[in-house]
C-alpha cells in the first residue's frame, strides 16, 4: 500500500497582503491550518499522518518573503522563503556570513536544498524514532505524548504537561550558526509583526517547540553586522549527505582589532529538545585552554541526550569536545 495524503483544502496566496488576509481569516474561523514552504519536512509528516491540517497554506506564492539583501546598517536580511540552495550560492551570504552558507550546505541533499527554505529549516520539526514513523508502526507501540498519547518511550517517567514533556530532538542545521550570529526573526501575522531574537525563540520541549503563536509565520531572518566574529559549523552524521545531524556544533570566536580572542561561543543542535548556546568571555590574560575546557564542559552538561539516534548517546556527548576543538583549529585558535 502506498502512503496517501489525507484530504485538505489548499491555499496559495499570491503576495504578502493576500497571505496576511488569509491568516486573519483562518484565525477568525479557527481553522486548523499548516504552512508549507519547501514542504520537505512537512510532506513526510503529512504522509505519515503526524499532522492533519484542514487547510494547507503554501507560502510559495509570497515572493516578498524570498531574497537576500544587506540593509543600510549592515544587517543581512534573508526572506524566510529563501531556498537553502540559493543561500549556499549567494555571494552576499558567502561574503558576510560564510558559516551560514556552509551550514545550509550541510542540510539533506542537493535536491532537497533546491526546495527547502531557511524559515522551514528553523522550524523543522523535532524528531524522535518513536514518532517519525508510519501509522502502522505507531499502532504497534503505545502512542506517545507527541501523538496525543500518554507515554514517552524515551523517558518512561516523563509526565505530560511538565516541561520538557517530550524528548524529540532538535535537528535544524542552520539554527546554531544563526544563534551565534545573534539573528532575529521577524514574525508576521494577520496584522503587524514582531521581532524575536532567535535565542529567545526556542523552548525546552519536543512538542511545544518555540514561541511562534498560532497564525504567525516567519517573514525574515535578520543578522546584525558582526565585526570580528568568525563562526565554524560541522555536523556529526553517518553519511556525507541526507542525514540529519546526530550532533551539530557551531563555534564562534570574537576577536579584537589586534586579532586577540575576546569571546568564545558554542551552539549545539541534534542533541536536546532545543539548541544550546553559550558565550564565554576570554578575560585579559586568561588561559585560552581553560576557557575552551569550560566551554566543552558546559556544552557537555547540556546534552541530556537520549538513545534515539544511530549513534549511542555517550558517543555523541564525547564528540562535542572533539568537534569544538576541531572548529577552533579551523578558526586558527
Amino acid at each position: 500500500m502506498n502512503t496517501q495524503l489525507s484530504g485538505f483544502e489548499f491555499e496559495r496566496p499570491a503576495g504578502l497582503p493576500a497571505l496576511r488576509a488569509l491568516l486573519t481569516r483562518l484565525g477568525r474561523e479557527q481553522r486548523r491550518f499548516a504552512v508549507a514552504a519547501g514542504g520537505t519536512d512537512l510532506m513526510p509528516q503529512l504522509k505519515q499522518r503526524l499532522v492533519a491540517p484542514e487547510v494547507l497554506v503554501s507560502l510559495n506564492g509570497v515572493g516578498e518573503l524570498a531574497g537576500i539583501a544587506v540593509q543600510d546598517d549592515g544587517t543581512l536580511r534573508i526572506g524566510a522563503l529563501t531556498r537553502l540552495a540559493d543561500l549556499v550560492d549567494s555571494t552576499l551570504v558567502r561574503q558576510h556570513q560564510p558559516a551560514l552558507a556552509a551550514a545550509a550546505g550541510r542540510v539533506a541533499s542537493p535536491q532537497i536544498r533546491n526546495r527547502a527554505t531557511l524559515g522551514g529549516n528553523l522550524l523543522v520539526n523535532n524528531r524522535c524514532i518513536y514518532v517519525n514513523q508510519s501509522p502502522l508502526n505507531r499502532t504497534v507501540h503505545a502512542p506517545c505524548f507527541k501523538v496525543d498519547g500518554d507515554v514517552c518511550h524515551i523517558v518512561k517517567s516523563a509526565v505530560r504537561g511538565q516541561l520538557p514533556q517530550c524528548q524529540a530532538r532538535f535537528v535544524s542545521d542552520t539554527a546554531p550558526v544563526l544563534l551565534l550570529l545573534e539573528a532575529r526573526l521577524v514574525l508576521l501575522r494577520g496584522r503587524g509583526e514582531r521581532r524575536v531574537p532567535l535565542r529567545r525563540f526556542y523552548r525546552n520541549d519536543g512538542m511545544e517547540r518555540n514561541v511562534l503563536r498560532p497564525g504567525e509565520v516567519i517573514g525574515w531572518i535578520e543578522i546584525p553586522p558582526a565585526t570580528g566574529l568568525q563562526v565554524d559549523y560541522d555536523k556529526l552524521a553517518v553519511r556525507n549527505a541526507l542525514d540529519f545531524p546526530s550532533l551539530g556544533v557551531a563555534v564562534g570566536v570574537r576577536r579584537d582589532a589586534a586579532g586577540q580572542p575576546l569571546e568564545l561561543s558554542v551552539a549545539l543542535t541534534g542533541l536536546g529538545t532545543h539548541p544550546g548556546c553559550w558565550r564565554h568571555a576570554i578575560a585579559d590574560g586568561a588561559s585560552l585552554s581553560k576557557v575552551v575546557a569550560k566551554a566543552c564542559a558546559r556544552a557537555g552538561k547540556f546534552a541530556t541526550t537520549y538513545q534515539q539516534d544511530f549513534f549511542p548517546r555517550d558517543y555523541r556527548k564525547k564528540m562535542i569536545g572533539v568537534f569544538i576543538h576541531r572548529s577552533l583549529r579551523r578558526l586558527g585558535v
Binding site: 500500500m1 502506498n2 502512503t3 496517501q4 524514532i129 518513536y130 514513523q133 508510519s134 502502522l136 508502526n137 499502532t139 504497534v140 507501540h141 518511550h153 556529526l236 553517518v238 553519511r239 556525507n240 549527505a241 541526507l242 542525514d243 540529519f244 544511530f310 549513534f311 549511542p312 555517550d314 558517543y315 564525547k318 564528540m319 572533539v322 576541531r326
Partner: protein, 794 residues
C-alpha cells in the same frame, strides 16, 4: 581458438537504453485494463492469536470489490520443499509485526486504504520470542508447533570433517573470538509489486517483481489450488533483487486470490515500509569461531558455533544454516572443520537469502581470525593467504569439486598494484591496508525440487529475416543475464548483438530456468543459450554445405572427459547435454560478417542464404540447449550443501583512513582480484564488483535494522543507512583469469562472491591503521572509537 567477436567485449546491457530513457516497464508500470487496487492489512502484534476478523464494514464500503483473509488460504508454502511453513495470510495466529492479516481490492487505492481501516481484528497477544538465545529454550507455545519441538529451533546442522582438536593441539597459533552481526536487508530500488490479469476463462497472468518466476508459478498453483496451466508468470523489467525477491511471496498469492475472487485485474504494490517488513534479508548472527594456524601447513582447523536468527518463517533458512558452515571450506585448503549451525524462529520479519547467502558473516570471522593468526605467526597476510589458496582440481573436505582457480596469480598482482609490500605495516597511524579472500558457488549443483530436468533450458529460433531469438526463463534482475543470453547466441552464430532478441521470463513463452539465485544464471542459462546456438549453428552449416555443394560435416558426438573432475559421478544426463569444449565448434566453418565461410576452400555463402535454405524444409528453425550440473558430492545427509559445478574466488586489498578522534572509517581504495573465469561482459563484471563493494561497505560500516518490541523502527532509507555515492572508494580491478572449462566460454559467477571478503578486508585494514580488532558488525564509529580507547588504555 580465442578470437571472440562478442565475448569479452565491454557491452552495455541490451535494455540499458530503455531503462535510462524511462521506457522500460517495471511491474507496476504495466497498464492493466481497469484494475482493482489491492492493499494489505498487517498485524500490529509480534505474536498473537487471531480471535476474529470482521470484514463486514469494509465490505459495505462503496467501491470495495473483494476481501480476503487467512480463511481463504488452506495451504502454506515456502521456497524450499523442506520448509513450507508460511501462510499467504495469517490464519489463527500472527508471528511478526507486519504479517498480512487481510487484504482488500477496491476501485481506487484511496478506497482500499479506507477499507483497511474498517476491518476489525480481535487479537489476543501472546508472548513474543524476539531473542535468538531465548528461542533455544523450552517454551509453552513454539512458533511452529508442527516441528514437534519444545523450543523455537528451526534447523540444526552439525558436521565434522577431519580432527580439528588434533589440529589445534599441534598448532603454534590458535585464535578464537566471538562475533556478532546485525540484521541487514537488500535495499533494492524497486519495491515489491504484483499485478494479476484474469481472462474470461479464469486464467491468470501474473506480472511480478520476482527473481524466481518458475518457483512462483509452482507455489501459486499449490497455494491457490488451481492447475499450473492456468497460471502464467511474467517477470517484467526488475529493479534489483539481491535475494530479496527470490522467494514466492504472500502478496503474490494475495493478489492472485483477489483476482480469482473478484474476476477483475488486480494491482498491488508495496510502500518502502512494507518492503522492510517483508524483509527476507541476511540473518542476524552470533558466532564463535576458533582457528588454528601453522606456517608450514596453513590452517590446521576451524571450529565454529553459529546461531542465526531466522525470524518468523523458513524461507531459504535451511540452506542458510548449512552455508554458514560448509562455505568455510574455501578459498583455502582446510581438512579439519567442525561446525554447529543453528537457525531459530523468532517473532520478527523473516530472514532469507541475501547476496552472498550464508557465506558472508562466517567469512568475516574466518578472515579476521586468519589475519590475527598470520600476524601472530609473523607471516605476511597476503603471502600467507596465497600459499593456502586451493589448487585447481582438488576436492575439499565435504567434496566440493574445485576446478578452476586463478586467485593465486590474481592476489599476487593485486599486491603489486596496490603497493602492498610498501604499505602494509608501514603506513602512519590512522592509515591502514588490509586483505581478505573469499569464494562462492556458481550455481547449486542440486535442485531444490528433486527432478531430472535440466537446470536451465533455452529455445532458440531464427526467422526468415535472420533475426535470432533466444527464449529463456532466466530472470534478469539488473545483473544482465538478458545481455549474456544474447551474447552467447551472437558469438556462436557469428551475428551482431543487434541481430539477437531475447524473450525472457514468461512461463508461457519461455522454457524453464530455475531463477536468479545462488549465482547460477550466467553459468547455467549462459551454457544453455550457448548450447542452443551450437545446435543452430549446425543447421546453418549443413545448409551452407548444401548451397556450396559440399558434403555435410560429420559431427562426432564429443564425449565428456571421464574423470570425476570433468564429469562428476553418476551422470547419465550430463553427457547428453555435452557439446564439447569452448569454442572450437569443430565444423570447419567460420560464421562472421554476414557470411558462412568454409575454411577449407575459402568459399562462402551469405548468412541469410544459409538461414533460408535451412528454413526450406521445416519452415521453422528452432533448437534448444540445456544445462545440467554433473552429479557431485557424497552420499550422507547434507552432502549436497554448497556443491556447485564451479566456484569463483576473490581477494580484496583495501586501504582505509581511520579518524582516531571520531572513529570514522573511510575506505579510500579497493583493489579487487576476482576470478570469474572469462569475463563474458567486463562492463557487467565491473558493475557487479562495484556493487558488491558498495553493499559490503554498508554492512561493514553502517547498515543495521533496529527493532523495538519486534517492530522495525528504521523501515526507510533515511534511518536505515545505506552508503551514498560519497562513500564509494576508488576501485581497481585486477584481471584474474582462470582455466574454467565448464562455464559458458569459461565464465563463472561475479555477482555474489565479491561481497563477502570486502567486509573483513576493511576490518583487517582498520587493524593495520589503528591496531584494533572489531568483532561486531557494523563497525560503527562509536565501536571503533571505543576499541581505540580501550587499546590505548591497555
Amino acid at each position: 581458438m580465442s578470437g571472440y567477436n562478442i565475448v569479452g567485449k565491454p557491452t552495455p546491457q541490451i535494455d540499458s537504453r530503455d531503462k535510462v530513457m524511462g521506457r522500460a516497464r517495471f511491474t507496476d508500470d504495466i497498464p492493466l485494463h481497469n484494475p482493482l487496487h489491492a492493499a494489505i492489512l498487517r498485524s500490529p502484534f509480534a505474536s498473537a492469536r487471531i480471535l476474529k476478523v470482521d470484514t463486514s464494514r469494509a465490505a459495505a464500503l462503496p467501491g470495495v470489490r473483494g476481501i480476503v483473509t487467512g480463511a481463504d488460504f488452506r495451504r502454506t508454502f515456502g521456497v524450499l520443499v523442506i520448509s513450507k511453513d508460511e501462510p499467504a495470510m495469517a490464519g489463527n495466529r500472527v508471528r511478526y509485526i507486519g504479517e498480512p492479516v487481510a487484504a482488500v481490492a477496491a476501485e481506487t487505492a484511496e478506497i482500499a486504504a479506507a477499507a483497511l481501516a474498517l476491518i476489525e481484528v480481535s487479537y489476543e497477544p501472546t508472548e513474543a520470542c524476539l531473542d535468538p538465545r531465548v528461542a533455544l529454550k523450552p517454551v509453552a507455545e513454539p512458533l511452529h508447533p508442527g516441528l514437534g519441538r519444545d523450543n523455537n529451533l528451526h534447523k540444526r546442522v552439525e558436521q565434522c570433517y577431519g580432527d580439528p582438536d588434533a589440529g589445534f593441539a599441534a598448532s603454534p597459533v590458535v585464535v578464537e573470538k566471538r562475533f556478532s552481526f546485525a540484521s541487514v536487508t537488500h535495499a533494492f530500488t524497486e519495491p515489491h509489486a504484483t499485478q494479476v490479469a484474469i481472462d474470461g476463462r479464469g486464467n491468470l497472468t501474473v506480472y511480478s517483481a520476482t527473481q524466481v518466476p518458475h518457483y512462483l508459478h509452482m507455489a501459486m498453483a499449490e497455494v491457490l489450488e488451481i492447475p499450473e496451466h492456468r497460471i502464467r508468470v511474467i517477470k517484467p523489467h526488475l529493479g534489483g533483487g539481491f535475494g530479496g525477491k527470490s522467494d514466492p511471496f504472500p502478496h503474490e498469492m494475495i493478489a492472485a486470490r483477489l483476482a480469482l475472487q473478484t474476476n477483475r485485474n488486480i494491482r498491488l504494490r508495496f510502500s518502502r515500509e512494507e518492503v522492510f517488513i517483508s524483509h527476507h534479508g541476511r540473518h542476524p548472527t552470533t558466532l564463535t569461531m576458533k582457528l588454528g594456524y601453522d606456517p608450514q601447513q596453513g590452517i590446521t582447523g576451524i571450529d565454529a558455533d553459529i546461531l542465526i536468527d531466522g525470524g518468523a518463517y523458513g524461507s531459504f533458512g535451511v540452506v542458510t544454516t548449512y552455508y554458514n558452515g560448509v562455505l568455510l571450506q574455501g578459498p583455502y585448503r582446510i581438512e579439519n572443520l567442525r561446525f554447529r549451525s543453528r537457525r531459530v524462529y523468532t517473532n520478527k520479519p523473516m530472514c532469507g537469502a541475501m547476496r552472498g547467502h550464508g557465506g558472508v558473516n562466517p567469512r568475516f570471522a574466518a578472515e579476521v581470525l586468519l589475519d590475527m593468526a598470520l600476524v601472530q605467526a609473523g607471516v605476511d597476510p597476503c603471502q600467507g593467504r596465497i600459499d593456502m589458496i586451493h589448487r585447481p582440481n582438488t576436492l575439499t573436505a565435504s567434496e566440493f569439486r574445485i576446478t578452476s582457480v586463478g586467485l593465486k596469480a590474481g592476489l599476487e598482482e593485486a599486491m603489486r598494484r596496490s603497493g602492498w609490500n610498501e604499505k602494509y605495516g608501514k603506513l602512519p597511524y590512522g592509515k591502514g591496508i588490509g586483505v581478505a579472500c573469499g569464494f562462492y558457488i556458481s550455481g547449486s549443483a542440486a535442485h531444490i525440487h528433486r527432478n531430472d530436468r535440466p537446470s536451465s533450458t533455452v529455445r532458440l529460433t531464427i526467422e526468415f529475416d535472420g533475426m535470432v531469438t533466444v527464449y529463456s526463463g532466466a530472470a534478469d534482475i539488473g545483473q544482465g543475464i538478458d545481455t549474456i543470453l544474447a551474447m552467447m547466441a551472437a558469438e556462436v552464430l557469428g551475428v551482431g548483438l543487434d541481430q539477437v532478441k531475447v524473450v525472457v521470463a514468461d512461463t508461457q513463452l519461455t522454457p524453464v530456468d530455475l531463477g536468479s539465485y545462488s549465482s547460477r544464471v550466467t553459468f547455467m542459462a549462459g551454457n544453455a543459450s550457448r548450447n542452443a546456438a551450437i545446435r543452430m549453428r549446425r543447421l546453418l552449416v549443413a545448409a551452407a554445405c548444401q548451397l556450396l555443394e559440399l558434403p555435410p560435416p560429420a559431427w562426432e558426438k564429443p564425449e565428456p572427459p571421464a574423470d570425476y573432475f570433468r564429469q562428476g559421478r553418476r551422470s547419465p544426463d550430463y553427457s547428453s547435454d555435452y557439446l564439447g569444449p569452448n569454442p572450437d565448434y569443430n565444423d570447419g566453418f567460420r560464421l562472421a560478417n554476414g557470411q558462412v565461410t568454409h575454411l577449407g576452400s575459402g568459399r562462402s555463402v551469405p548468412y541469410l542464404d544459409a538461414v533460408r535454405r535451412a528454413l526450406d524444409g521445416p519452415g521453422i528453425l528452432q533448437t534448444h540447449g540445456t544445462y545440467r550440473s554433473p552429479k557431485l558430492g557424497g552420499n550422507y545427509k547434507g552432502a549436497a550443501a554448497g556443491l556447485s559445478p564451479t566456484y569463483s574466488f576473490t581477494a580484496f586489498i583495501v586501504e582505509v583512513t581511520v579518524d582516531p578522534e571520531t572513529g570514522f572509517v573511510k575506505v579510500d581504495k579497493a583493489t579487487c582480484a576476482h576470478d570469474c573465469g572469462t569475463m563474458l561482459n567486463p562492463l557487467a563484471v565491473r558493475g557487479q564488483i562495484e556493487g558488491c563493494i558498495h553493499m559490503g561497505l554498508g554492512q561493514a560500516l553502517m547498515e543495521e535494522i533496529v527493532h523495538y518490541d519486534g517492530a522495525v523502527q528504521n523501515a526507510g532509507f533515511l534511518e536505515y543507512k545505506i552508503p551514498s555515492a560519497f562513500e564509494q572508494p576508488e576501485v581497481d580491478l585486477v584481471p584474474t583469469p582462470s582455466d574454467e572449462t565448464e562455464g559458458p566460454f569459461g565464465a563463472k559467477e561475479a555477482g555474489e562472491g565479491p561481497l563477502a571478503p570486502i567486509i573483513p578486508a576493511i576490518a583487517n585494514a582498520i587493524h593495520d591503521a589503528v591496531g584494533i580488532r572489531l568483532t561486531e558488525v557494523p563497525m560503527r564509529p562509536d565501536r571503533v572509537l571505543a576499541a581505540i580507547r580501550k587499546a590505548g588504555a591497555a
